[in-house]
């Protein structure tokens, strides 16, 4: 059980890293792109708009925690 938890923790750290908000916000942005495209709205611009915002929030959070 302990090894299973360590295995899960390793993959969580490997994929998610220090800030779980980054994958969460990225998922929301990709979901919104897909939703807009499904509604017939061109949404290629959404991710380039969302990424700086996500990165900046993550940087501010990292600086606050140091």
């Amino acid at each position: 059980m302990k090894q299973l938890a360590a295995f899960g923790r390793f993959w969580w750290d490997f994929v998610v890293g220090d800030d779980w908000r980054v994958p969460a916000l990225v998922a929301v942005a990709i979901g919104a792109t897909a939703a807009l495209e499904a509604a017939g709205v061109a949404a290629w611009w959404l991710l380039p708009l969302a990424v700086p915002l996500v990165l900046w929030l993550s940087l501010r959070r990292a600086i606050r925690s140091t």
């Binding site: 220090d18 800030d19 990709i30 380039p48 990424v51 996500v54 900046w56 940087l59 140091t66």
Partner: protein
């Protein structure tokens, strides 16, 4: 790869090259098996779904790399010191008890094996994601193998940790590339059409570079202004 070389060198110097090289060989074999097993399986996934998942993973991974590189470049996080890491690993390895299993020193073997496996997983991840999304895993694996030979060759030549490699600049570049392809493929996977098709990658690349440099500049200025005179 630079970190893995530091660990293997420390294991080799402190515990003997036989165990360090056995650990390196075993970890490389596991990584090669992972690529050989997962690579062909990924080619059966529909391209749009693959690009959505791969793009999202690359974007999350790239933003992790970019965040660390920006924090280091702006002075909020200490730069990697391979010399200090080597000295620490060496001291730990010299202090550990000698246990022999299967004809090799177990500490040296596991230190080298774990170091190469953990660092190599990032390389496997990049090989599988880039290779599968572009339809050529063998080419991506060959690129990674060439980089491995280069780092190992330089390591053998200098017989010291690669302290002079501009590691943060390399990580910055990797973070930029992962984020760029992550944005491009995840948007395509979500159904978006880029203006200019594949040529849009260059535009996204320029945008990510400018954004990253701007963030470094802003944070560096902020940090300097916060230091009392």
């Amino acid at each position: 790869m630079v970190e893995a070389l530091t660990i293997v060198l420390a294991a080799g110097v402190a515990r003997g090259w036989r165990s360090a090289l056995a650990g390196l060989g075993a970890a490389t074999l596991v990584l090669a098996i992972l690529v050989a097993a997962l690579g062909p399986a990924l080619t059966h996934v529909p391209l749009q779904a693959l690009r959505l998942v791969v793009g999202a993973l690359l974007l999350v991974f790239g933003l992790q790399w970019l965040r660390k590189a920006i924090l280091r470049a702006s002075g909020y996080k200490a730069l990697h010191d391979e010399g200090a890491i080597f000295a620490r690993e060496l001291a730990d390895a010299r202090g550990a008890a000698h246990v022999e299993r299967g004809g090799v020193d177990w500490y040296g073997f596991t230190l080298s094996f774990k170091g190469v496996l953990l660092e190599g997983l990032e390389v496997v991840f990049i090989v599988l994601t880039f290779g599968s999304a572009q339809g050529s895993i063998p080419l991506a694996a060959a690129g990674a193998a060439a980089a491995l030979v280069l780092v190992a060759g330089v390591g053998v030549a200098v017989r010291a940790p690669l302290a002079r490699v501009p590691e943060n600049a390399l990580k910055f570049a990797v973070g930029v590339m992962l984020t760029t392809f992550g944005i491009f493929w995840s948007a395509e996977g979500a159904g978006a059409d880029w203006p200019g098709d594949d040529a849009a990658i260059l535009g996204v690349l320029g945008f990510v570079v400018l954004m990253s440099l701007l963030f470094v500049r802003l944070l560096r200025r902020e940090r300097l202004e916060a230091v009392p005179v």
